[in-house]
């Protein structure tokens, strides 16, 4: 890679993110913005706050990026679940570059479809609640089209950064959205209570420490190559790494998507019957409150979903059957473990312990702030776990990408023959 290419990639990434920030100020046409914003400021549902935070405050201001990147994230989660359920898609996801490209196309298609669906629900909800300037089908469809276009624009920018910039585009958009709402949240926590700032600093420090530990720690399974069997075992030992954060932020994102849907339905007054019960279960307001009937149920459901999705996702990231067959094909083996079924069983056991550890840490990170928020009546603290884990993971991932590109540039420009 040439020196110019590196700076070009940096320029494209920064330019694309700046463009997103500018477009985030374009309002949706035909909405009574003042009335809507007044209603939103009085609405303190944590699920809605999370959705608003992930959209960078665009949802509370009703700008065209109001849906944020969430439709794409939920679509990619659905596609991943389908990959686990369907044999055809499962095989496709393991087909290397060609398969991944097809899966990516499917992600985009599902992302657009879910944007259209959410935009239509939102616009008809706004019509029902009287937030549209002209209550007609045309203006409702105009609002839906604007929101949908905004979501598609974000997907496009994310893919542009993936292809021509540095880092993961979707994660970076999510990060700038979270980062731009953080100063306001910090201010509101400080204003809400005298010791709010101290509590926030303590929580942030601990969560940051745990997230970093998860990102930097790993389990290494030693493997022996066929050549190294003939020489001293200490000399040639390779390893398979399994990160503590094996699933990354995906399980948290998955559960928060469900929480967001609950908040969204509640905001639009669409929570009726069974939906009302589910929305209340997902709303973290009532968790750890002994008087609330939804407290235990909500936490149990949250943990069950977190664990379930972590296992499902870990299977996609690290499939013991595939790893065992690759090891066998290359003539490698794990010391004292027979190739084949024994290796699969061994790898499955190791992966299981890592996923449990990952889920335990994720649960501590996400539930501790909710517990403290409900006990000390600091509503803004509720979101700190989820948002900090997303922000820190993106920072670490982007740092790695930039460093890799930088090394690539230096490697190429180094004069080997001088």
């Amino acid at each position: 890679m040439k020196k110019n290419d590196f700076w070009k990639k940096i320029g494209i990434t920064i330019g694309a993110l700046l463009f997103v920030k500018v477009i985030a100020h374009v309002p949706v046409p035909g909405v009574k913005a003042d009335l809507y914003q007044m209603a939103v400021t009085q609405y303190t549902n944590p699920s809605f706050s999370l959705m608003n935070q992930l959209s960078g405050g665009a949802l509370s201001n009703m700008t065209i990026l109001g849906l944020g990147i969430s439709p794409y994230i939920s679509a990619s989660i659905i596609v991943q679940l389908l990959c686990a359920a369907s044999e055809y898609l499962g095989n496709l996801s393991r087909e290397g570059y060609y398969g991944q490209k097809k899966i990516e196309k499917l992600n985009i298609l599902f992302g657009i479809a879910s944007s259209v669906m959410i935009a239509l629900i939102a616009s008809f909800g706004l019509l029902r609640l009287g937030y549209l300037q002209k209550p007609s089908v045309f203006s409702t469809l105009l609002v839906a089209a604007s929101l949908c276009l905004g979501a598609v624009f974000l997907i496009g920018i994310g893919k542009l950064i993936d292809k021509k910039g540095i880092g993961n585009g979707i994660s970076l958009i999510l990060f700038i959205n979270i980062a731009s709402t953080l100063p306001q949240d910090v201010r509101s926590v400080m204003e809400a209570k005298e010791n709010g700032a101290v509590l926030l600093i303590i929580i942030t420090t601990i969560i940051l420490g745990i997230v970093l530990f998860m990102e930097l720690s790993k389990k290494e399974i030693r493997i022996l190559g066929s050549r190294s069997l003939q020489v001293s075992q200490d000399k040639e030992l390779s390893h398979i790494p399994i990160k503590v954060a094996i699933c990354g932020v995906m399980p948290i994102l998955f559960v928060s998507t469900f929480q967001q849907i609950g908040g969204f339905l509640k905001m639009l007054h669409l929570d009726q019957g069974v939906l009302n019960f589910i929305c209340k279960l997902f709303s973290s307001e009532s968790w750890f409150m002994s008087k609330s009937p939804y407290s235990t149920g909500g936490i149990v459901l949250y943990l069950a979903m977190l664990t379930g999705f972590a296992f499902l996702y870990a299977n996609l990231i690290f499939n013991p059957v595939n790893v065992a067959s690759i090891l066998k094909g290359r003539g490698n083996l794990i010391p004292n473990v027979r190739p084949g079924n024994d290796t699969v069983r061994f790898l499955r056991k190791e992966r299981r312990s890592m996923v449990f550890f990952d889920v335990l840490l994720l649960a501590i990170i996400s539930l501790t702030p909710i517990f403290l928020a409900n006990v000390y009546s600091l509503p803004m603290l509720r979101l700190s776990g989820t948002t900090i884990i997303i922000a820190v993971s993106v920072v670490i991932e982007t740092k790695r990408c930039v460093w890799a590109e930088f090394l690539g540039m230096r490697y190429d420009t180094k004069k080997w023959f001088d």
Binding site: K21, V22, H25, K219, E220, V395
Partner: protein
């Protein structure tokens, strides 16, 4: 720093490496949040000035 000898090794970062990563991550986060906040304020002012 490596613990637990045998087939499986649990690798935890060296305390110095961990501290260095902690500091750089906090600095990166703070810089990103500061820059984005500044950009947001600038765009808001620009929008108010133009419209």
């Amino acid at each position: 720093m490596k613990k637990k000898p045998g087939n499986v090794t649990f690798y935890v970062p060296h305390p110095l490496h961990y501290m260095l990563c902690y500091v750089t991550t906090v600095l990166s986060l703070a810089t990103a949040i500061g820059v984005l906040y500044g950009i947001d304020l600038a765009i808001e002012k620009l929008v108010k000035m133009l419209f």
